[in-house]
C-alpha cells in the first residue's frame, strides 16, 4: 500500500509587487500503483506542486499525506526524478544508483545486486563504471530513474523527466518507463507539459489551469495496457488528445490575456 494524497494544498509567494497565488486549493489522491499525470500550461505551478509532494517546498496551506500520515520533510519514501538528471558527476553510474542504498547502509552485496539489476533493466550495460559526463541525455535520465528506483520508494515523483530529450529518445524513454512501471507497479506522480506523453503513460490525467494553479479537469485514460507505439495512432488516443489540447489551449489563452491586462 503506497498512496500519496495532496490535501487542500495552496501556495502563495510574496513578491515586491504583492502576493502571487501560485497554487490554490489542490486536492488529489494517487492510489497504490497508479500512474497519475499532471499536465498544464507552463507557469501553472505543476513543478511547485511536485516539489511540495516531495517535501522540498513547504506549502502555505494544506498538507501531503503518505499512506495517511502527514509528511513534513523530504525522504527516501518519495523518490524524485528531475528534468536536469542531476546525477552526481563524481560518481560512476553504478555508485550513483547505489547512492540511496549506501545512505541506508544496505550491505554491499545487496547494493550491488540492486544496481546490477537496474543497470540491466535500464539498458545501461557496459556503462556501469562510466561517469555521467560520458553518457547521452537519454542514458543520463535512465541512470537517474534507476537511482530513484534503487531506493525502492513508495512513490515516484517525476518532474518533466523527458523534457530535455529529443522526440525520438523521448518516445523510447516513455516505452521503457511503461515497461518498468508494469514491472514494479510503483505509485507515480508525473508532471509534464506534453499532452501525448501524459496520455501514453497515465492512468489518470489532472489538467491544471494557469495561475493560480488549480485542477480544472480529471480524465481517466481508458486505453488498455500494455501500451505500445501503436497506441499513439489509435482512435481513442486521438480523441483524448484533442480533448486535453482544447482545455490547455483555452487555459494558455487566459494566461496570455491576464498577462496583457497586467502589462
Amino acid at each position: 500500500m503506497s498512496e500519496i494524497q495532496i490535501a487542500d494544498v495552496a501556495m502563495r509567494f510574496r513578491t515586491r509587487r504583492g502576493e502571487v497565488r501560485a497554487l490554490e486549493r489542490i486536492s488529489l489522491t494517487v492510489p497504490d500503483g497508479q500512474f497519475a499525470c499532471i499536465v498544464g500550461p507552463s507557469g501553472c505551478g505543476k513543478s511547485t506542486l511536485l516539489m511540495i509532494a516531495a517535501g522540498l517546498v513547504t506549502p502555505t496551506e494544506g498538507e501531503v499525506l503518505l499512506n495517511g500520515k502527514v509528511t513534513l520533510e523530504p525522504g527516501a519514501d518519495r523518490g524524485m526524478v528531475f528534468q536536469s538528471y542531476s546525477l552526481f558527476p563524481w560518481l560512476s553510474v553504478r555508485r550513483n544508483i547505489e547512492f540511496g542504498p549506501e545512505i541506508k547502509k544496505a550491505p554491499p552485496p545487496d547494493r550491488r545486486k540492486t544496481s546490477s539489476e537496474l543497470i540491466r533493466l535500464m539498458r545501461l550495460d557496459g556503462f556501469a563504471d562510466a561517469y555521467p559526463s560520458a553518457l547521452s541525455g537519454g542514458m543520463k535520465q535512465r541512470a537517474a530513474i534507476a537511482r530513484a528506483l534503487a531506493n525502492d520508494p513508495e512513490v515516484l515523483l517525476m518532474d518533466e523527466p523527458f523534457g530535455a530529450l529529443d522526440a525520438q529518445t523521448r518516445q523510447i524513454m516513455q516505452e521503457l518507463l511503461t515497461d518498468i512501471w508494469q514491472r514494479y507497479r510503483k505509485t507515480v506522480l508525473f508532471v509534464t507539459h506534453d499532452i501525448e506523453e501524459a496520455i501514453f503513460l497515465g492512468d489518470v490525467i489532472y489538467v491544471m489551469t494557469s495561475r493560480p494553479g488549480r485542477i480544472r479537469t480529471t480524465l481517466k485514460v481508458d486505453i488498455p495496457r500494455p501500451r505500445t507505439f501503436d497506441t499513439l495512432t489509435g482512435p481513442r488516443f486521438t480523441e483524448l488528445r484533442n480533448q486535453v489540447v482544447g482545455i490547455i489551449h483555452e487555459e494558455s489563452l487566459k494566461a496570455v490575456e491576464s498577462e496583457l491586462v497586467r502589462a
Binding site: 517535501g55 523530504p74 527516501a76 523518490g79 536536469s84 537511482r147 531506493n151 520508494p153
Partner: protein
C-alpha cells in the same frame, strides 16, 4: 507499426562529387575550429622561437655600450643565471621565496576554503562575513606593507601576512561563488534519496565544489607570487625580490631578467602541479585541452 523503407541514396559519380576543401581559410580561419596537431606544436614552438629571436635581435641592435648593459641577449642571461646559481647562491633566495609563498598561501587557503564554503551554503554566514571581506578585497595588499612593517617588523611574519591578505580575501569570495553555484536540484535529489542535511553537505555539496576549488587555488597561487615579490622589493634580506633590488643597485639588468624568468618557471611548475592534481583527483571532469 508502419515502417517507411529507408530511401536509397544513389551514389554520386565520383567525377561529379565536389571535392572537400581543405584550404587554409577553412582550416585556420573558422572560429573554434580544431587545427591539426602538428600545426599546434609548430605554433607553440614557433612562439617561443619568435620571442627569443626578437629579443636577440634587439640586443644585437643596441650599439651604445651603456644601453647594451641594460639589454642583455638571451644567451647572456642564461650564462648569468648559471653564474647566479653557482657563485651567488641564488637558490637560497629561491628557497626563501618559495617557503614564504607556501606558508602564506597555505595559511590563507586553510581558512579561506572552509569559510568560503560555509558562506556559499549558509546565508547567515554569508550575510555576516560578506560585507567586510568584500570591502577589504578592494584594498590592495601591497598598501598594507608599510603598516605591517610598523606592526610586525621586517621578519618572515610580515611577508607571510602580505601574501595571506592578498590571497585570502580573493580566495574566500571565489570559493563562496563556487559553493553558491552548486545546483539546488543536486541537493534536492539527495534529500529525496533519504540523505540527512549533514549527509547532503559532506556527500553531495562538498564533492560538488572540489574541482572548482582546486581551480581557484591554482589561480590565487599565481597572485601570491606578485604580492611576495612586492613585499620582498620593499624590504627583505633575502628572497628573489630582494635579489632583484640588489641587482638594480649594481645595474645588473641581466640578473634582474634571470630572476624574473626564474619566477615565471616556478609559476609554471606550480601551475602544472595543480593541473596534474586536478587530473588525478577529478578524472570525471571533462576539460578543454589547455
Amino acid at each position: 507499426m508502419s515502417r517507411v523503407p529507408a530511401a536509397r541514396v544513389a551514389p554520386v559519380p565520383s567525377a561529379a562529387r565536389p571535392r572537400r576543401r581543405r584550404g587554409f581559410t577553412r582550416t585556420y580561419l573558422t572560429p573554434k575550429q580544431a587545427i591539426p596537431r602538428r600545426a599546434r606544436v609548430i605554433l607553440a614552438v614557433g612562439s617561443f622561437v619568435f620571442v627569443v629571436g626578437v629579443w636577440t635581435l634587439l640586443a644585437a641592435l643596441v650599439q651604445n655600450p651603456l644601453s647594451a648593459l641594460f639589454v642583455p641577449s638571451p644567451y647572456q642571461v642564461v650564462l648569468t643565471w648559471w653564474d647566479m646559481m653557482v657563485n651567488l647562491a641564488f637558490y637560497n633566495d629561491v628557497g626563501w621565496s618559495t617557503f614564504r609563498i607556501l606558508a602564506g598561501f597555505l595559511l590563507a587557503a586553510v581558512v579561506a576554503v572552509p569559510l568560503g564554503l560555509l558562506m556559499g551554503s549558509f546565508e547567515a554566514v554569508r550575510s555576516f562575513f560578506n560585507p567586510p571581506i568584500n570591502a577589504i578585497r578592494y584594498m590592495p595588499a601591497s598598501a598594507f606593507i608599510p603598516l605591517l612593517i610598523l606592526l610586525q617588523g621586517l621578519g618572515e611574519d610580515e611577508k607571510i601576512t602580505i601574501i595571506w591578505i592578498g590571497v585570502f580575501f580573493q580566495l574566500v569570495l571565489m570559493v563562496m561563488d563556487i559553493a553558491h553555484r552548486v545546483p539546488d536540484e543536486m541537493l534536492n535529489v539527495a534529500y529525496t534519496l533519504g540523505a540527512s542535511r549533514w549527509t547532503v553537505f559532506y556527500k553531495v555539496f562538498l564533492p560538488a565544489t572540489f574541482p572548482e576549488v582546486v581551480d581557484a587555488l591554482r589561480i590565487t597561487m599565481g597572485w601570491a607570487w606578485t604580492y611576495l615579490i612586492v613585499a620582498e622589493l620593499v624590504a627583505a634580506e633575502h628572497g628573489i625580490g630582494s635579489f632583484i633590488l640588489i641587482a638594480e643597485r649594481y645595474l645588473r639588468a641581466d640578473r634582474i631578467i634571470a630572476a624574473i624568468i626564474t619566477i615565471g618557471i616556478l609559476g609554471l611548475i606550480t601551475d602544472t602541479l595543480f593541473a596534474v592534481i586536478h587530473r588525478l583527483a577529478f578524472p570525471y571532469v571533462q576539460k578543454v585541452r589547455a
